[in-house]
Symmetry: C2
Subunit: 251 residues, 2 copies
Amino acid sequence: MLKVAHRTLELLEYICTSPQKEFSVTELSQRLGLNKTKVYRMLRVLAERDYLRHDEKTGRYHLGLKPLELGTQVAAKTGLLEVVSPYMEKLSREIKETINLAVMRSNKIVYIHKIESPHFLRTDLRVGTSVPVYCSALGKAMLAWLPEQEQEKILGALEMVAYTPHTITCLEDLKLELKRIRDKGYAVDNEEYISGITCIAAPILDGHKKPVAAISAAGPSLRLNGEKITQSGELIARYAAEISFRYGYSK
Amino acid sequence: MLKVAHRTLELLEYICTSPQKEFSVTELSQRLGLNKTKVYRMLRVLAERDYLRHDEKTGRYHLGLKPLELGTQVAAKTGLLEVVSPYMEKLSREIKETINLAVMRSNKIVYIHKIESPHFLRTDLRVGTSVPVYCSALGKAMLAWLPEQEQEKILGALEMVAYTPHTITCLEDLKLELKRIRDKGYAVDNEEYISGITCIAAPILDGHKKPVAAISAAGPSLRLNGEKITQSGELIARYAAEISFRYGYSK
DNA sequence: AATTGCGTTTCTATATTTGAAACAAGGAGG
DNA sequence: CCTCCTTGTTTCAAATATAGAAACGCAATT
């Protein structure tokens, strides 16, 4: 079952995900509840391969460039960004709001690419950050198209915190919402995570009809409302479907 | 010494780096000379964490999106791209050739970002690909500023193949060239890897004066020659120094 | 000088990994 | 339809790497 490998990757993911930039052995061992010696040895492995760097002066570890390098290679090989970027740029010109690309990671979504809105007033969810699935259009879009079994698994484990007065906090409501999303073809986040911000998203599906990612437009509810939501939603859904077609079969 | 962790990461890196897109257990075990059972189990670990995906139909493994996600997070956290991109864009406008950002990985350099030249005629080294250090301006720029000990280690292990008539194939010549590069402040690849392509690069140094990456301009020797090389080189070196200053101390 | 806190090393019982071999499942060919 | 390959996957005993408390060395602090 390769425990060490698992835990080493877990440690790497923890360090990459955490907002913190530098870590000491003791700190990490406490925070992850692991033996100090073990953490020390895993850090050495990661540092040896340049996933992390070891500052000899302070003894602390910070990020190396290997993950970025691998990410770049994966992006190049899967062609995800290559295929999606042109559509995102089209959406940017047509909708004139911030356009995002995100993937799902357990019960969160993680932004992996974005094109800034030309407007002065814009959302500031940076690439790399994550948001709970149930209160983001991107998350709901992917949830809605997930095979029932996997959907249930995620829904069952959700802790539904209210970030704003509009956040959906009842599981039944969420299930109804997911059904509506499938019917419409796109998801809308109506100020469910940040007050004043509306977001519209549609999923990118692979060859097995499973969502691999989602694209969205996000902006102030002052601009994104009424008819604009419907228009943008249909546009995003159409492009997402085209991307799905190209991505799902090109592999 | 955490062998399993090491080998699992090695396997991941192999899969990300290889031009191939799909792999079977047997194939990988043969290619890496490892026991089939072991490879099988490592692949399971990587697939479980979404570094890879397992196609249940064919039994083969292909890339997942976790590496891309981690890469994005590292890019966001280190701020490397955030700091470097604006300079790359300036260089693009001023030099009007393809601008690259690369890191060093053992005896190769790996492209991690690029801005295409506005010209029709342009180089086509895609992001994610790698080139031997000794015949690339980016590689030579980083080599030149590496601490002597590390430099020796890499130079000692080089196999110097001639890709073009201009490729440096003698170690002594390369050492002299590295000295010249340090004196000038920038490196030039004079058709040493691809005939007809010239490349000019300077290193980005961290707080310990060690190169973490390098930026370059690349284009047809027809346009990049004579005075243009000197001008571009000085510009690139100046910007690289500014980036070093900002990156080296912001950490 | 003593103490605290850190990264690192040591050491042995223990649990995990190892890998040949067996198994199951599918496809190719006769 | 059956056989023979070739897959991916599981089993199991032996070999080996890991775990983790404890000790160590070294700073910085008191």
